[in-house]
């Protein structure tokens, strides 16, 4: 599926905020502020200090009691994409399917957010920030260009990137797309940082199909981010690997959810549009 076909596939998909967003420019997300919008919600008895213009005079005439009309306001939700560009994302070596999957998910989600009028920003780990959230019409293309120009390499500090993304767009929606194969301290700090983020955090875990089912032939596997880590994947080691990797994924999912984030794992053999629909529907 090409990028254009992917964008066509997700057209019309909505990605509502998980909770009311702070007051901001008018948008599609329910705002914490209740104002005078056309969409009526409820009446409240008039209290001293209320704007007299919000009194429902017809109701006053019928009931001889003063009520104020309340309505939900809708606001925009800046969406900041933080995408891991470390060496481990360049896997498998020949197809780099893991990175392409992450890139396409970011593109599709950015397209959905942009269609709702939300500002979209991009931060790349471990590279520098690409651009802050913006609403211009060309932002999706800019995001596509920025992701296409990425040169994968280095080791990611997810904690730094998450905090940077959250700092740039306060009370925004931060979407962290990564394989989370960083070192344990960084991951723990990232989770702690996720708890401190004022807005929403979406942790999208990208796993290569080849990581779930490594080649059956005897190989000596090497961590691309740590060449000193080389171990033989032979015989009974394969079962141990499957067990340990599954346990780690379960731990990651539990910890992200415990941190108040939305966690979704997707594999490279899953169509990107299906993964995106799961992400936007996740609690």
């Amino acid at each position: 599926m090409t990028d254009a076909a992917l964008l066509d596939a997700v057209r019309g998909v909505r990605w509502p905020a998980k909770r009311r967003v702070p007051a901001a420019a008018h948008g599609v997300h329910r705002s914490r502020r209740r104002g005078v919008a056309a969409e009526f919600t409820e009446y409240r008895p008039y209290a001293q200090g209320d704007d007299p213009r919000r009194i429902d005079w017809k109701l006053l005439a019928r009931s001889d009691r003063a009520f104020v009309r309340l309505s939900d306001d809708h606001a925009l939700l800046p969406t900041m994409f933080v995408v891991d560009t470390s060496t481990s994302m360049a896997f498998p070596v020949d197809t780099v399917a893991k990175w392409h999957h992450a890139r396409r998910i970011a593109l599709a989600l950015a397209s959905i957010a942009h269609a709702a009028g939300d500002p979209v920003g991009l931060a790349l780990a471990p590279s520098a920030l690409a651009f802050p959230p913006r609403t211009r019409r060309t932002v999706v293309r800019e995001l596509t260009d920025a992701l296409s120009a990425v040169r994968l390499g280095g080791a990611a500090s997810l904690e730094r990137l998450l905090s940077a993304g959250a700092t740039i767009a306060r009370e925004a929606r931060v979407v962290l797309i990564s394989d989370f194969l960083t070192h344990a301290e960084d991951l723990a700090a990232t989770l702690a940082g996720a708890r401190a983020v004022a807005g929403e955090v979406h942790a999208i875990h990208v796993v290569a199909a080849e990581e779930l089912a490594p080649p059956m032939r005897d190989v000596s596997v090497e961590d691309p981010e740590d060449p000193t880590l080389r171990r033989p994947l032979v015989g009974s080691a394969r079962a141990t690997y499957d067990r340990e990797f599954a346990a780690w994924r379960n731990t990651i999912a539990r910890d992200w959810r415990a941190a108040g984030a939305s966690y979704v794992m997707t594999t490279t053999d899953e169509p990107a549009d299906r993964a995106v629909r799961r992400i936007v529907a996740s609690p």
Binding site: R231, P232, L233
Partner: protein, 349 residues
């Protein structure tokens, strides 16, 4: 090239094959592959045993195989002499039987060995059988077997057939014959010829059957040979004057011979059982000429068959060639093997 002990070379080939098989099993790290989740693989030695389709370290393998084969060849005691004949014959002919010479000519080939024996044995040229003298009458198979065993060690042939041509008189066997026969590692082709006819005057035989008190006694000794059968004798028998030709096992005379003119009279006081087992003894008493010193009683067929043995008729011998040239070759091969072993050690380091 001849090998005195080819088993060593065969063993060397087996060991070399095992070495080649070991070279197909190599301990080396498997091919490397990048895997971001490598941290979940349990730590373990990164060397695994793999079976290759083509031997690894071919120079080392060649040196090792060459070392083993050279050592095996050296220990197999090689010699660079001419090629041995595939087979040869040793023909032992009994000089006490003139017919044995005619039979021997039929069996002897140009590369065969002839042994003439009576009480002693010697190797004789194949073309001089007609010049051999007649024996005194006695012969010894033990002497013939010993001479054959010695001759076999000198014959350059892969297998040797032993042919013994003799009347197989009982007197040709002695106490050592069976043990010496066992030294020949194959069956023996036996050719039985007729016994020589005596030229001495024939004896008048008088059988004196036992009468009166009959005694049953099991054995008769005649010319040192003990014949065992249910013989009977008269307890009251008194032997006449004359030469005792047979005695009972207790020493009492059983047959006496006394001269009568140009001939002689032989009185035999033995009650012969009516069995075929004593037919030869009876014939010996009857046919023996006067004054014959030896009993020419022939051996039974079963004894001759036991002497011939069963199984393959061709014997093979591991020879000690022992010449200086062979020792030189062995030493050279061992030095070469040692040099290759050192080279292998150097390359392996």
């Amino acid at each position: 090239m001849n090998l005195a002990a080819p088993g060593f070379l065969a063993a060397a080939f087996a060991v070399a094959a095992a070495v080649v098989a070991l070279h197909l099993l190599v301990l080396r790290p498997p091919p490397a592959s990048r895997l971001p989740t490598a941290r979940f693989v349990p730590p373990a030695p990164s060397m695994v045993r793999r079976r290759e389709t083509w031997p690894q370290d071919r120079w080392l393998l060649a040196l090792r195989v060459a070392t083993i084969l050279l050592a095996g060849l050296a220990f197999s005691r090689p010699s660079l002499g001419g090629r041995r004949a595939p087979s040869a014959r040793i023909v032992a002919l009994d000089l006490s039987a003139p017919a044995a010479r005619d039979s021997a000519r039929r069996y002897l080939g140009p590369s065969d060995v002839a042994i003439a024996f009576d009480t002693a044995a010697r190797i004789v040229p194949n073309d001089s059988l007609g010049k051999l003298g007649r024996a005194s009458g006695a012969s010894a198979l033990s002497a013939a077997l010993i001479a054959a065993r010695r001759a076999a060690a000198q014959i350059r042939a892969d297998s040797i057939e032993l042919i013994v041509i003799s009347p197989f008189a009982a007197s040709a066997f002695d106490a050592a014959t069976a043990a010496i026969r066992a030294q020949w590692p194959a069956a023996i082709h036996v050719v039985r010829v007729t016994q020589p006819v005596a030229t001495l005057p024939h004896a008048r035989v008088q059988w004196t059957p036992p009468d009166g008190a009959i005694d049953t006694i099991g054995g008769v000794i005649m010319d040192g040979i003990v014949a065992v059968a249910p013989f009977t004798r008269s307890r009251t028998y008194r032997a006449p004057e004359g030469s005792v030709v047979a005695r009972w096992v207790d020493g009492a005379p059983a047959a006496v011979e006394r001269p009568v003119g140009d001939s002689c009279e032989r009185e035999i006081a033995i009650g012969m059982p009516n069995t075929r087992a004593v037919d030869q003894l009876r014939a010996a008493f009857t046919d023996r000429p006067c004054g014959a010193a030896m009993l020419s009683m022939a051996m039974g067929d079963s004894a001759v068959r036991a002497f011939a043995g069963t199984g393959v008729i061709s014997a093979t011998f591991a020879r000690n060639q022992g010449g200086s040239g062979d020792r030189t070759l062995m030493t050279t091969l061992l030095i070469l093997a040692g040099a290759l072993a050192i080279a292998e050690w150097v390359i392996r380091r």
